[in-house]
Symmetry: D2
Subunit: 281 residues, 4 copies
Amino acid sequence: TQHWVLSFSCVDQPGIVHAISGAVVDAGGNITESQQFSSDDTGRFFMRLQVLSPATRDELEATLRPVAERYEMSWKLDIVGRRIRTLLLASTAQHCVNDLLFRARGGQLPIDVPLILANHPTLSDLASFYGVPFEHKPVTGPDSKAAFEDRIREVIAEHNIELVVLARYMQILSPELCEELSGKAINIHHSFLPGFKGANPYKQAHQRGVKLIGATAHFVTTDLDEGPIIEQDVARVDHSRTPAELVALGQDEESRALRRAVTWFAENRILLDGDRTIIFQ
Amino acid sequence: TQHWVLSFSCVDQPGIVHAISGAVVDAGGNITESQQFSSDDTGRFFMRLQVLSPATRDELEATLRPVAERYEMSWKLDIVGRRIRTLLLASTAQHCVNDLLFRARGGQLPIDVPLILANHPTLSDLASFYGVPFEHKPVTGPDSKAAFEDRIREVIAEHNIELVVLARYMQILSPELCEELSGKAINIHHSFLPGFKGANPYKQAHQRGVKLIGATAHFVTTDLDEGPIIEQDVARVDHSRTPAELVALGQDEESRALRRAVTWFAENRILLDGDRTIIFQ
Amino acid sequence: TQHWVLSFSCVDQPGIVHAISGAVVDAGGNITESQQFSSDDTGRFFMRLQVLSPATRDELEATLRPVAERYEMSWKLDIVGRRIRTLLLASTAQHCVNDLLFRARGGQLPIDVPLILANHPTLSDLASFYGVPFEHKPVTGPDSKAAFEDRIREVIAEHNIELVVLARYMQILSPELCEELSGKAINIHHSFLPGFKGANPYKQAHQRGVKLIGATAHFVTTDLDEGPIIEQDVARVDHSRTPAELVALGQDEESRALRRAVTWFAENRILLDGDRTIIFQ
Amino acid sequence: TQHWVLSFSCVDQPGIVHAISGAVVDAGGNITESQQFSSDDTGRFFMRLQVLSPATRDELEATLRPVAERYEMSWKLDIVGRRIRTLLLASTAQHCVNDLLFRARGGQLPIDVPLILANHPTLSDLASFYGVPFEHKPVTGPDSKAAFEDRIREVIAEHNIELVVLARYMQILSPELCEELSGKAINIHHSFLPGFKGANPYKQAHQRGVKLIGATAHFVTTDLDEGPIIEQDVARVDHSRTPAELVALGQDEESRALRRAVTWFAENRILLDGDRTIIFQ
């Protein structure tokens, strides 16, 4: 018996839950967890199931396909706990990469990282401690940036990458690459979006005198810092904090927000409803 | 078309979701919200549905009853947003009563309060501002306590009370009454249980030097401060706070925790799994 | 013996604390609470003291004035716990006004409210329950707006108003009045500034799909939603919340952020460091 | 010019701040940060100062000593940012050790760790990655436990250890060693004390059905889980979490609470007021 995770989305209408649960019964499955949401904004239906079933993947797909076709669903079938092949893009900051690798090694974050690709060599030691291959290619202008992005494409193809994580990568991806990675690249921005977009958000936060600083994990889109938000976290600060202290304090929120976003992606808990995310926790 | 809320619990086994959703389809219903949980601790299945259906209550019950009987379910059918008839027990503290009545009047908390019963006259003005009948009976010894509890029973019968809220009532109910109210009386305790049970929890918290104070909303049971926990909330404090300041600060957490517990009860979001609560938010 | 609160700000330089504490000793005072901050941004020194002293106000002022003059200080002397004369401006929303009046009546918020001035009659009952005079003047165009603002000025003069609180007043004050009220008018904005300025912030928040909603209490300035931030608060939300539910949920954060800002103002805990606030908690 | 940190405690009486600030002026110092607290519980005065001064340590001590003696103060003079010599005691859990070493290496946590002493070899790799000497000695019975504690004493003497951190060490220290380490050993307990003392707190938390889990950093005393609390942190959980998931979730709160406690200790921000801690943030 295997533990499966299923997700579905389609135009909402009566009978969908019954049709899906009927297919699950037909496949000898028992639903152990289920969540559903109908969006008033888009009129779409979203569902995530975990199912125990002795059926093979082919059998399950054969049973579910007619339902999926009848309702013109986007759907996905996966195994609970399968490690998602993940490419980390990094620069010099260590905290997010360290947090992700620490939890991946401890078995709390179901990802496999075949490579860390960075534009600086700084994290080489960290990668080697965690036994993760590390490669660095400087990005100093348009040509080296294009070469870096080509290398991203190669790695994705070579390792069947399912998720790209910009773990404080600090470079803006080209519109073309953003398009190619649509829905499978997650960035961590070091502010509570939509406040303080762009560069130096902690400096902006200090100048504005905010009482809470934050971090936002979001899907990468061509529109900078505007992609669908997956998770946000904040920490209380006061007047005595310098911009440098805000940077240090915010690392915790960045690590946590990014880690949760990656975990939910790996567990197939994130569905897209237009520009908004549905998170089935 | 009516918006219905359904909740079910029974021994877990395959096919339950399909059977329930089939009955919903048969009743011409569309599921707008659904949550399910299977408890590893007790082996029980729990489900909450919101369903749009043109069927009458009788038709819905007729369609669902066979499913409920087949799986030996506890189940409940109600109308989304129906106001629950609620008796408030109070003493001298105003914050919880004020918070509940303020939100009930504003339409954010679906309860009707036919009476506030208190052992002190203090809240008479507050009740009258909100247009809620108020009655006070002193509790000064065993006899007056028994009389107070008899009055509770009368009010419950007379007004078909569905929920009793001890809004800082500060008296311990007799074991008999606790039994009678099992699963339908909610108390707010002014500490983060299981820490600081009993009297003067803020004084205890000050002496122990905790850095967070809290409040706990729980079902009333014969075992004092040990009933199933529904909601908890905390606030950060520091060394400079006196016990009196902790009392003042904690009022906010008490009000919020109690309000959420009452809201979830009124929305049929709380199910009991042994001594633990399932909260379907 | 009286409990005094003192606050000072001036250009930072060595010896200020010694000079101030010397004056306190000369006035027979004992410091019970003290906080100090030197701003790297502006080079200014800020201090707040609570002092027990048998001296009269005149004696204290005579002792402190030479120190204040030597360092060219802005300074203030007040009695701990004195109730600040506060004008509330309101519209139709009740939660902030209710929260402030509830705590003022309970003695937890040291303000006296001689009048609520509103552009709608909605809160008349609420005001009368708390025994606070209520007056409403419609604001429907430039003339009635000017008349409303003239009435604000009259009330301020007549009642020696020290603080004006825009408790969800929902009208933009004229630049002239903003200037006149500089540093003594607090507004609550229903978003986590600087995100979602202007109208309908919860609708904006829903569209953007944020995972935390917030509220910001700030001093009123001519630059809308850009005044110095005093306090911010957030609450976690998820995809299932409609804009209307965000409005309801956010009321709690609005009430709390505004209440804290008003409390700190009344306790002389807020000092201005350019466009940023120093909060001595 | 050096940046100094000073802390004082003594029986409260008028004139202390003036006496201290006078000595600071005499030493050519400028106060950049100051906090003070007078305890109603014990009648004691507490102060922490940061001072810029060109004086040598000997000069500063000579200037301050007469004040300290006049008021019979406990006092301490240190350099801001000096790294505290810290011994980590560990077992098999990695998260707290990793968190402390990551931040120590990044310069955010002012500690030097000359040795990790563990009763299991598990963390050897982690220690070596961070370049920290690692030693393990099994603890399997009274004799090996006594040997382990003797080794602790040796290391303390040899490396002039100022702080011992039990980073999920999971062994109870002998009363003798608790006494010896009084006020300089910090433990992290994996519950929100005083709830769930002793072993398996997450299992207890699951059984009790709490809605928030927590962690508590406290000074080690002979009375198990009863030492002065330094910091606490909580995370929201729901009914769906298994005890194993609570363990995983709680690691973040454990790491954060312990890290903050160690940081504050290293920055001389913790003073003891009987069984309670004063934290000058």
